[in-house]
């Protein structure tokens, strides 16, 4: 990790060498520590630190991009040379107009960086994991998972006056508890280590694991489902991958293509992207230094809006929502801070008011087979249960699903009133009328 002053110094060093009308310096630094545990011991424990400096140079509509992690003056001079060579060999990009200008930009207040000693302590992580392992051993179970702390900094500066800097922190604890042929899973994610719900995640995983013992076989087929937040996250992540990007929508590949203003999901479904929501991983600007806007992608089931960056905003005549990825970006602007807006029922009420459904803790190895209609296959994992008359009747073996996720979100019956942060998205539990399971996994 550098700091703002060193980032500005790098920008100024690059400025000395650049001889083009416009340029943009993007600096991405990361310090990450990760402790993995399996069979109730720590088996992998790593730390890494790196800084990447990326330079985009522009002359007219010609663009050149290259990057390096050599921040010496010589390394930066080479970076300028490489970017300029690429620019000179490139053809004009008719969709490109200009780098963003400073006059457009106002950044919100921002302070989401954990500088506590505990955050950087390998001993603290080992102690937490030791406690998780002890708790699982007391139930004759084994603990598996990871404990990650990472610090990131992002600087964007360009020759038109943009200068943006932010540093953030993230903490994630995954807890998988296993017995012989059964398992449970829970996790906690936060920006500050003091907010991590260690006990809740540990107890949830142990409880789910114990409930999963001796799973029964049920016939594959169509069943109502209740998804815990981690399972909902997998659905949202997959829909985002298949269809929320501006490129996929514009190119006709997405299930949302040509449907702006149309009802695509149940009216109980509202999905927004908000990089400034303090419950998520806040990042005030995108990789072009543009402030992130709140975008209501799905509003009461209607495809309402989509994210853009400077290039796509110009191309489509829409506002720039601040969702650029680092150039050159072949994926287009994508939402990175999705929120599935909460409903009004507690998870307990959703379960207790259900006659019959399959309860899913999380999914595994989901992969699209037909993105245009949202068709995906995957498996359940770490706790799948059959609910009858408002109670968990029995654990069941893992099931393979093959169904359209668009159809799944079109028949949402209930949305939980609590959001959980997972993999950067804020998601609730949901209940859906029908989901197609096509086979039973013989793993247990």
């Amino acid at each position: 990790m550098l700091d703002k002053e060193r980032c500005i110094q790098i920008y100024n060093d690059i400025k000395e060498f650049v001889k083009v009308p416009q340029f943009e310096v993007l600096i991405m630094g990361e310090d990450e520590s990760l402790t993995r545990y399996a069979n109730s011991i720590i088996h992998q424990n790593v730390r890494t630190s790196d800084t990447t400096v990326q330079l985009r140079v522009v002359s007219g509509k010609r663009i050149g991009v290259s990057s390096t992690n050599d921040t010496s003056k010589e390394g930066l001079a080479d970076l300028v040379k490489a970017s300029t060579e690429i620019m000179n060999s490139s053809e004009e990009d008719p969709d490109f107009s200009s780098l963003p200008e400073r006059k457009e930009i106002k950044y919100p207040q921002f302070d989401y960086f954990d500088s506590s000693a505990k955050f950087d302590s390998e001993d603290y992580k080992a102690d937490v994991i030791s406690e998780i392992c002890s708790k699982s051993k007391s139930k004759s179970l084994k603990a598996f998972g990871r404990f990650t702390t990472s610090k990131m900094e992002l600087f964007v500066g360009n020759s038109l006056g943009v200068e943006a800097y932010a540093k953030t922190s993230q903490v994630n604890l995954n807890v998988q508890i296993m017995g012989e042929g059964f398992s449970g899973f829970a996790q906690s994610t936060s920006k500050f280590i003091s907010d991590l719900e260690i006990e809740r995640a540990t107890n949830d995983a142990i409880e789910t694991c114990l409930m999963s013992k001796n799973p029964s076989f049920i016939e594959p087929g169509d069943y109502p489902v209740i998804l815990k937040p981690e399972a909902t996250e997998d659905i949202i992540e997959m829909l985002n991958y298949m269809g929320f990007s501006c490129n996929a929508i514009s190119e006709g590949r997405s299930f949302l293509s040509g449907k702006l203003g149309e009802k695509v999901f149940s009216e109980k479904v509202s999905i927004i992207d908000d990089g400034l929501d303090s419950r998520g991983f806040v990042m005030p600007f995108d990789f072009e230094g543009i402030p992130k806007q709140r975008v209501e992608i799905i509003k009461d089931g209607v495809f309402n809006d989509f994210v853009t960056d400077s290039k796509w905003a110009l191309k489509l005549g829409r506002k720039n929502t601040g969702h650029a990825l680092p150039a050159p970006n072949v994926y287009g602007p994508v939402p990175l801070n999705l929120i599935f807006l909460e409903g009004d029922k507690s998870f307990e009420d959703i379960v207790s008011q259900t006659d019959e459904a399959i309860l899913i803790t999380r999914f595994w190895y989901s992969n699209p087979t037909n993105p245009k209609v949202g068709l995906v296959t995957g498996l359940t994992r770490d706790g799948t249960f059959f609910i009858k008359n408002g109670k968990i009747e029995k654990p069941i073996k893992n099931l393979r699903y093959t169904d359209s996720l668009v159809n799944l979100l079109s028949n949402v019956l209930e949305v939980g009133n609590a959001l959980r942060l997972y993999e950067g998205f804020l998601v609730p539990a949901i209940k859906c009328k029908s989901f197609k399971f096509t086979s039973v996994a013989p793993s247990q």
Binding site: L34, T35, Y37, A38, S40, I41, I42, H43, Q44, N45, V46, R47, T48, S49, D50, T52, S66, S67, N69, D70, D78, I86, S89, S90, E91, D93, E122, D123, K125, A126, D127, I129, M178, E251, G252, R253, P328, V330, W364, S366, N367, P368, T369, N370, K372, V373, T377, G378, L379, R381, N398, R400, D403, K436, T438, S439, V440, A441, P442, S443
Partner: protein, 483 residues
Amino acid sequence: MEDCLIEVALEKASELGATYADLRYEENEYESISVKNEKLEGVKRSKSDGFGVRVIVDGSFGFSSSNDTSKEGILKVTDEACRIAKASAKVKEHSVKLAIVKPYKDKVGHNAKIDPFSISLNEKLDLLKEATNSLNVSPEIVLRRGNMRFLKQKKIFASSEGAHIEQDRIESGAGISATAIEGNEVQVRSYPNSFGGDLSTFGYEFIKGLKLGENAKRIGEEAKALLKAKKCPEGYRDIIIDGNHLALQVHESIGHPSELDRVLGYEAAYAGTSFLTPEKLNNLKVGSDIVNIVSDATIIGALGGFKYDDEGVLAKRIYIIKNGIFSGYLNSRETAAIFGFEPMGAMRAENWQKIPLIRMTSINLEPGNYELDDLIGEIDNGILLSTTKSWSIDDKRLNFQFATEIGWEVKGGKLGEMVKNPSYTGITPEFWSSCDGICNKNYWHVWGVPNCGKGEPPQIMRLSHGTSPARFRNVKVGVANVG
């Protein structure tokens, strides 16, 4: 990195109580080029240099890495690695032991005849534009994409046991794809394979040999034809899997479950475990008698090939499946020592930032003796499937469901109509046991796979699979038509 700086790290680690230490330094240069609809979509060159130090202190591993290659940076990282190892030792049952290997001293050159970084951007763009232009056979082909990617790497591995290995490596790859859209129907065809094409450790001569332009028109026409093709039937059929997709079948159902760290539960919380548990070694019949699958990192040019792995172990060729019997694991020095196996050299790290994990090398289905026409000729009612579209397999690697871009019916021993959205599902040992024909070495090709994910933090590894088309009897097809 100078030898004296490497010694600084190894000596410092020893001072801090390390019973073992290694340092891996890498200089990596990347180039990626993408073309969309005959226009440059993006080109990027990047350089990334750095090193990682791995130690054993108090019987546990610690690892730290940094791009700061100054003496101070090296001392700091080594100190961190030792501190991390001591923290690991607070939650252990046994001390790590490493299987003994010879500490090699060697210098290894790359396989490229033509350095791809010596070829101008314009020449590369011309090749991709010409190929994508040939995909443009009708207005329905709305997306025409081409890509190239290259890596030039210098790597030094040194250990406290005396190993000192310098290896140079070049990787080259390219591919094209056509996306046809009509109403709600989207069909994609790729050449020579999907998800990046084909890759090797040869140089630019490999790109020229792919013949992208010569195959582009056919690929465009197939994408268009798929829009009107009938659906893959549902039910049980005899199937032939083309080599470019059989690579994925080998990868998911044999390669991953043979990783010994996965068997030991090291990947359980993330990537899952394995059905190939130790008591099944040399006992379990995983496939029919004609199924022989090897791990072979010694194949020159294979993307999964190398001379030494990232523990300094000399590359080997071993059987994973021999005459249908599960016969061997991919291992590391640590996991080999647990079972008394010989280390076979499968520890690889994505880059200097990451700790090496057990990864596939080149996992190859050995060729059989069939001509493709004969393989087809012995099927009354079947499907031939080609080019990976999607994949999913359970966390023990048993229940899988795969889809391909294209298929053709086989009726009465002859190739018939094209079918769209072909898919099949099965259980790993049952599936491989139904294999009754494999094409001969004339059809055999080593496919480069650039996108194998494993580990936390995620590591994307480049590896390969040698395959030729093979036949499987009575397989459930068409299940992905639902929804």
